[in-house]
């Protein structure tokens, strides 16, 4: 029996021989020229379309592109169940498409339960993904801070006596008091239960002491309606247990750690506390080991990736800061600054990858001393499961452990000479972020980086060229190009976005941290089309998400960079393909902006 129809592909492989014959009897084949419409929006869906050859695109009302369909893809399942098609389907290139008429489709669904459930399941997954993918659709996130989460904020004047304050607190059942020191929101301070206790029992202050003397300032503040996650990260960063929630310039309540913890089922703060309280390297190491488990839990709970990345980098920074404290004598800590680079520096590290770090120290510290500390530092990190950087981007390497003036000199020469290895170091340095020591040393370097392009503009296109060095893994027909079921998402998808955003930011002197933030700022400054910036951000998140879920499912080493396309669902493959098209477009934009096509 000659047959072009691929019965091997899911879900058709679930059909029995008899059902296959039924299917064949209701099948027709259409040929469409580019631009021809297969289904008009609003029309009754008459058939399930299965692409044999060519590419068909799906466009929404305002001509917004939803998906591309290539060989073996099917559409419009949603329309078949709803009876009506919402979007327009148009052939992008010459396409040969099977059409299974709707009546037979429903009959097959009735006869064969696995067949039906395939479509219903993929529909649900698609809808979920579509909701995620949508432009301004609700954020994929847990809870926003609402009034019911809050403890009352009791405001008292600064000259209230200690005893009065304690009684007020007990009466209203408040955990802390807001003290009015001056006018306006900035004039508020906070006095916690612990402060009152310490004042009474430790410092033996009398009951009449005005409470204003105890108040802490400035307040740690989140807005009402912010994500709980923001509060969480703030607490983690500042190692505090409560934050003030405000609406406009009015404090509306206090958010306590226990509230947040009861709403979060994870233990990120517990972990942060363990890191903060660890006395020895061994204790730190045990804390570091739980980090991966935390990521897996968060990912499993469907928490949006950009929040996981934020939280994980906050924790990572603390960990590094602690190790730094263990390695560098206290007297010198404020005379140098440890910066991290690479994904960690951008705040995008999830699972532990190799360590990329550098040290900026004051001119009067001898480089031998600095190198000894850093060797200890790197050794300790290695013990924590952060592999050493094969490229030698580590603070224990003399090339990455320099005094401020040496660093400044290096930036200066890079702008003048523009040798490839200098430019490479520069683009690595672009991602630097201070995690420990005195940030002052870093900010002077950063200031110079932000004006680097004034002098180094002519080298920028050399640097940008790197973003185009790997081909986008798309075939000529717009399908996914894999090598043996694997698709190199890091080279083909992530790197162009990360590097492109980095170089554009360098050119504009925009010193923001992280690819997502860079894209946003680039969009705002008009360097990138706003639409393009949004799409790229979504794309970036999708790539990281796909990679993470496969890393979590399979080996955690992260060495096998390829993405196993066969393990993705059809909907995910759709999104992946569309995303790669976005990357391709971005590369063209880069090519234009830096005049790379003429080189």
């Amino acid at each position: 029996m000659p047959d072009n129809f691929n019965f091997e592909a899911a879900p058709f492989d679930t059909l029995s021989e008899y059902e296959r014959n039924l299917l064949r009897s209701a099948l027709s084949v259409g040929y469409y020229v580019p631009g021809e419409t297969l289904i008009e929006p609003g029309s009754t869906t008459l058939a399930l379309y299965i692409v044999l050859k060519g590419v068909v695109e799906e466009r929404g009302k305002d001509d917004q592109l939803f998906a591309h369909y290539g060989p073996d893809d099917l559409f419009d399942v949603r329309g078949l169940f709803a009876g009506q098609t919402r979007h327009a389907y148009r052939a992008v290139e010459e396409s040969i498409v099977y059409e299974l008429n709707a009546k037979m489709f429903h009959e097959l669904c009735e006869r064969n339960a696995p067949f039906a459930s395939y479509f219903q399941a993929s529909l649900a997954a698609k809808r979920q993904l579509a909701r995620r993918d949508g432009q301004n659709l609700a954020e994929f996130i847990l809870t926003r801070i609402a009034r019911e989460h809050l403890l009352p904020a009791v405001e008292v004047s600064a000259d209230l006596s200690l005893g009065e304050a304690a009684r007020t607190q007990l009466e209203v059942g408040a955990d802390a008091l807001l003290v009015r020191l001056e006018g306006g929101f900035e004039g508020l301070g906070i006095v916690t239960r612990t402060d009152l206790m310490a004042a009474h029992f430790q410092r033996r202050l009398s009951d009449d002491t005005p409470v204003g003397t105890l108040a802490h300032q400035p307040l740690a503040v989140v807005e009402l309606g912010d994500f709980l996650f923001d509060a969480m990260i703030l607490m983690t960063r500042q190692r505090i247990e409560r934050v003030v929630v405000r609406q406009g310039s009015q404090p509306v309540g206090l958010l306590h750690l226990t509230q947040v913890l009861s709403l979060f089922s994870t233990h990120s703060h517990v972990l942060a506390l363990r890191i903060a309280r660890a006395e020895t390297l061994d204790e730190l190491q045990r804390a570091a080991e739980t980090l991966d488990t935390l990521i897996a839990t968060l990912e499993g709970n469907g928490i949006r990736l950009r929040f996981i990345m934020q939280l994980v980098s906050a924790l990572n920074e603390q960990l590094l800061a602690r190790v730094f404290e263990q390695s560098v004598p206290a007297a010198f800590r404020s005379r140098c600054c440890l910066v991290v680079m690479g994904s960690e520096g951008r705040g995008e590290q999830l699972l532990k990858t190799d360590q990329d770090n550098a040290l900026i120290h004051a001119d009067d510290i001898s480089s031998e001393d600095a190198l000894t500390w850093m060797a200890h530092f790197n050794e300790a990190l290695k013990g924590f499961g952060y592999p050493q950087c094969p490229g030698g981007v580590m603070a224990s390497n003399a090339l990455w452990c320099k005094s401020v003036s040496e660093w400044r000199h290096e930036l200066q020469t890079a702008a003048q000479e523009g040798r490839p290895e200098q430019l490479l170091r520069l683009s690595i340095l672009m991602d630097a972020y201070p995690v420990a020591g005195n940030e002052h040393w870093f900010s002077s370097i950063q200031a110079q980086l932000s004006t680097w392009s004034d002098q180094g503009e002519r080298w920028l296109s050399d640097m940008a060229l790197a973003a185009l060095q790997f081909d986008t893994p798309l075939t000529l027909f717009g399908g996914l190009k894999t090598s043996g079921e694997r698709l190199d998402i890091k080279r083909g998808g992530l790197f162009p976005i990360v590097h492109g955003a980095r170089i554009l930011a360098l050119r504009k002197g925009l010193m923001v941290r992280g690819t997502l933030a860079r894209l946003q700022v680039l969009g705002k400054h008009g360097v990138l089309d706003q639409h393009m910036a949004d799409n790229l951000a979504e794309t970036f998140e999708l790539f990281v998400q796909l990679r993470l879920s496969q890393q979590l499912a399979g080996d955690r080493s992260g060495l096998r960079q390829g993405l196993d396309v066969s393990r993705l669902s059809r909907a995910e493959r759709d999104l992946l393909r569309f995303s790669l098209h976005v990357v391709k477009k971005f590369k063209q934009t880069l090519g234009r902006q830096f005049h790379l096509d003429t080189r």
Binding site: P2, N4, R24, L27, S28, V29, G30, V33, I96
Partner: protein, 207 residues
């Protein structure tokens, strides 16, 4: 959207049916049958039918379900040489339809629709020889020759080119996936895809 020409009434006299197809292009008919035979030889005077494949094209779409695939009892002329091409052995054909029944089936399936094929005149000549043998009227359906269509379309753009009209070249130039080559139904399906593409698509680049 192009307008499709409906078929002439089956009961019209032959001259009127022919007049109808003279006035209208058979290529625009709303229903067309793509036809292919596997035979024992390439000489229409001696070739015997082994299998018949036909598929219906309705309004620019090939209906995979509306098809005919018939195998015929092995004729005595079935020899090793032709078996090499179509891979139908004597034992594969034992116990299949006898030729007369097959012809009747085919007749009922195609009716008076235009016939599409690759070197379709060969197939029709063979069929007509068989029809005559069994005292049935010959086929008077209008014909559509896919290679002529290809030739016309390509030579309009490349007038001087020497065109290779082999089946495989056509399918390659038109970028049609070929399955079931040298089976009657497979070839009929491939030809109908070629036809659809020639009808609507751009001018193919000749090989």
């Amino acid at each position: 959207m192009s307008v499709y020409i409906s078929r002439p009434d089956l009961h019209w006299p032959l001259w009127r049916q022919r007049l109808h197809w003279w006035r209208h292009d058979p290529m625009k008919a709303d229903e067309i049958i793509s036809l292919d035979l596997e035979t024992t030889s390439l000489d229409p005077r001696r070739a015997d039918i082994l299998s018949i494949g036909a598929v219906l094209i309705r309004q620019g779409k090939m209906l995979v379900g509306e098809r005919l695939e018939l195998y015929v009892e092995p004729p005595p002329s079935l020899d090793a040489e032709s078996i090499r091409i179509h891979k139908l052995r004597r034992m594969d054909l034992e116990g299949q339809l006898n030729i007369r029944e097959a012809l009747e089936h085919l007749r009922g399936f195609i009716g008076n629709r235009p016939l599409l094929g690759y070197y379709v005149s060969f197939d029709i000549a063979v069929l007509n020889r068989h029809f005559r043998r069994y005292g049935m009227p010959r086929l008077t359906n209008p014909r559509i020759e896919v290679s002529a269509l290809y030739h016309r379309k390509v030579s309009r753009l490349f007038p001087d080119v020497h065109l290779d009209l082999r089946f495989d070249t056509l399918s390659r130039a038109l970028d049609i996936p070929v399955t079931g080559r040298h089976t009657a139904l497979g070839d009929a399906q491939t030809v109908s895809l070629m036809f659809l593409k020639l009808l609507k698509g751009p001018v193919p680049k000749p090989y």
